[in-house]
């Protein structure tokens, strides 16, 4: 049977059903059989107008206060068939029987309204009325309430997040303390990080600079912070090998931090005079002009090695392909999933997702840093277990699961 055709005329709705015969052998209607065998005609009258029923008002849950949620049962005729309700008008008062003022009009089809007016006073009682707006009628509900807005101290919908956060943090702290006590933590080799020294050595031999691009992320992005870690390591080696490092920046805050990181690295290597502030500079906060500038730097300076670490978007491939044309070794690391394939295609080494975050621990080999890597692994084990449990539960909620249960029980 085909989907019913719906024809709406004023308050009348007609449903016309057509039944088409199919031959068994084909999924398409057979040409040998008549296309339409029967037509059913069903007429339905729209219900008479009425006010919204069961109106209720209560404090908006999990909010900073000054919020009330009003909900109601849709008025007669407010459905997919008739659409006779144009909208709803919400009225508010501090008294149950008088003083109602209009606070909002919302379109038909709605069944709740969140009143977050800043003029609401926490702890005060409020009453609400909802009016159904028909084409020619306005029908008011009886008053609902009192509702008292209150601020909440805990977001109840985030309890699972809190539990997981505490679990993860607890595991991390436990593993950090275990690592501090001398327990060995194995971290698998990360090719992209292992290649750092080799790439810097190559730059030194060739007498060419190193280009470090910290991406388009702000300093608050964790991927950018991970990029600082790699930059610190690279800058330290660069200072030791007396090579030059160029760091073009998209964000001025990131630039300030990069300058500090490189400066400290030169100081730590015993060559503070080697640091040139002009080599760690701000370009622009516009994506493609930034890309154009970095590309220009690549083609002018011909760096031996390019590092792309942090947040990257559409410019990732433009940068890395230009670097390839310039003949540079390229090492990239990002947690932007869409950009990872581009980097994999165009770069020699790519740190994918969590590898960028693991780089810090891998480079420092500090026990407390390695402890957090282990905590990540535990987190993955928990995620895998949850996925297995979810898959099993889902399977048994399907007809296939029912059949399997019946089979096991010998049914």
């Amino acid at each position: 049977m085909r989907h019913p055709k719906k024809v709406i005329q004023s308050r009348l709705a007609f449903f016309i059903y057509s039944v088409i015969a199919f031959s068994r052998a084909f999924s398409q209607p057979s040409s040998e059989l008549p296309e339409t065998n029967f037509i059913f005609r069903y007429e339905m009258l729209a219900p008479p107008p009425g006010p919204p029923a069961t109106v209720s008002a209560m404090d908006l849950p999990n909010d900073p206060g000054k919020g009330i949620i009003v909900s109601w049962q849709k008025a007669p005729g407010d459905n997919d068939v008739f659409h006779t309700v144009v909208g709803y008008a919400i009225y508010r008062s501090q008294f149950a029987d008088s003083g109602f003022t209009l606070i909002s009009r919302i379109p038909g089809g709605s069944s709740s309204y969140s009143d977050s007016d800043t003029s609401l006073v926490n702890g005060r009682k409020y009453y609400f009325k909802v009016a159904a707006l028909y084409k020619n009628d306005t029908l008011y509900s009886s008053p609902a309430g009192p509702a008292v807005p209150e601020p909440q101290l805990f977001h109840k919908q985030r309890i699972v997040v809190l539990a997981l956060m505490l679990l993860f943090s607890g595991s991390a702290l436990f593993l950090i303390s275990r690592a501090r006590r001398g327990k060995n933590v194995y971290v698998r080799p990360i090719a992209g990080i292992d290649a750092v020294d080799e790439a810097i050595g190559r730059a030194t031999e060739m007498g060419r600079p190193i280009l470090f691009v910290p991406g388009l992320g702000e300093a608050s992005r964790v991927a950018t912070i991970a990029a600082f870690t790699v930059l610190a390591r690279v800058a330290r080696k660069v200072a030791e090998y007396q090579t030059r490092i160029i760091v073009p920046n998209y964000d001025p805050v990131v630039m300030t931090i990069c300058q500090e990181v490189v400066k400290e690295a030169y100081a730590a290597a015993g060559r503070p005079e080697g640091f040139n502030e002009r080599d760690v500079y701000f370009v622009t906060q516009d994506q493609f002009p930034y890309t154009a500038s970095v590309n220009g730097t690549m083609l002018r300076e011909r760096p031996a090695t390019n590092f792309y670490m942090g947040k990257f978007y559409a410019e990732s491939l433009i940068l890395s392909e230009t670097g390839f044309v310039a003949g540079s070794i390229q090492i990239a690391g990002t947690d932007e999933l869409v950009q990872i394939p581009f980097f994999v295609a165009a770069c020699d080494y790519t740190l994918m997702g969590e590898e960028l975050y693991a780089a810090s621990a891998y480079l420092s080999q500090e026990p407390q840093q390695l402890g957090t890597i282990k905590a990540q692994d535990w987190g993955k084990v928990v995620a895998i277990l949850l996925m297995i449990v979810g898959a099993v539960v889902y399977f048994f909620s399907t007809p296939a699961g029912d059949s399997f249960s019946a089979f096991v029980q010998g049914g």
Binding site: E260, L317, E321, Y357, A383
Partner: protein, 216 residues
């Protein structure tokens, strides 16, 4: 002391940010908003530092006559010109017929679009290198890429439309995208999520100090 003060600030701020996520109370929300406003204010000040860096760099390039130094003159002239017309017309952004927006629409936007358009050619050259069947894995990548590409264009349907349902390019492409591809993407997402949580924890606890500059 130079190290301890930032570490304490980071610990207190980080712990508060985690705390406020679970506490919707208006005091918590107000402090959070206050912190965000400060972030914006600090960001604006650092923009001044950034522009200082840009001007210094290009001035240096011009004065030392470095390679392609003339482009630095273009940069500095453009920076000055756009700043002046922006400052001298109070409704610069609101007025689409003003000089400021003319510069935006007829200079910056086409140049930006041109850079973006280069991406199409770079995708072709990168795909050519990535899809060379030099190893078994690269061959598999090539095979899946060909199937996915053909499965999403009409010619794929034209070539395999006669095959039973489930064996056509479009069906195999859908399977590759829905199952192996989605599974791999989610695995990376889970790893990234845990990595972000671990790194955040390291920063709040002061285990990770590279952002201080050197980290010692």
């Amino acid at each position: 002391m130079k190290r301890e003060v930032p570490l304490v600030i980071v610990f207190v701020s980080g712990a508060f940010m985690a705390f406020q996520y679970f506490v919707p109370h208006y005091i918590s929300a107000a402090v959070y908003q206050y912190a965000l406003n400060w972030t914006i204010i600090v960001g604006i000040f650092t923009l001044v530092v950034g522009i200082g860096s840009l001007v210094g760099l290009h001035y240096d390039r011009i004065s030392r006559r470095k390679e392609q130094w003339r482009y630095s003159i273009v940069t500095l002239v453009a920076l000055t010109f756009v700043t002046v017309i922006g400052l001298y017309s109070p409704d610069a952004i609101q007025n689409p017929r003003g000089l400021f927006m003319h510069v935006y629409f007829y200079v910056l936007a086409p140049v930006t679009a041109t850079m973006f358009a280069l991406l199409a050619f770079f995708i072709a050259s990168a795909a050519y290198r990535a899809f060379r069947a030099r190893t078994v894995l690269a061959s598999l990548l090539l095979l899946s890429a060909v199937i996915v590409m053909l499965g999403r264009v009409p010619i794929g349907e034209y070539l395999t439309g006669w095959l039973p349902e489930g064996l056509r390019f479009s069906d195999i492409a859908k399977f590759i995208l829905d199952y192996p591809n989605t599974a791999a993407k989610r695995a990376i997402y889970i790893g990234v999520g845990l990595g972000v949580a671990a790194t955040s924890l390291k920063i709040i606890l002061g285990v990770e100090r590279t952002w201080l500059g050197g980290g010692q």
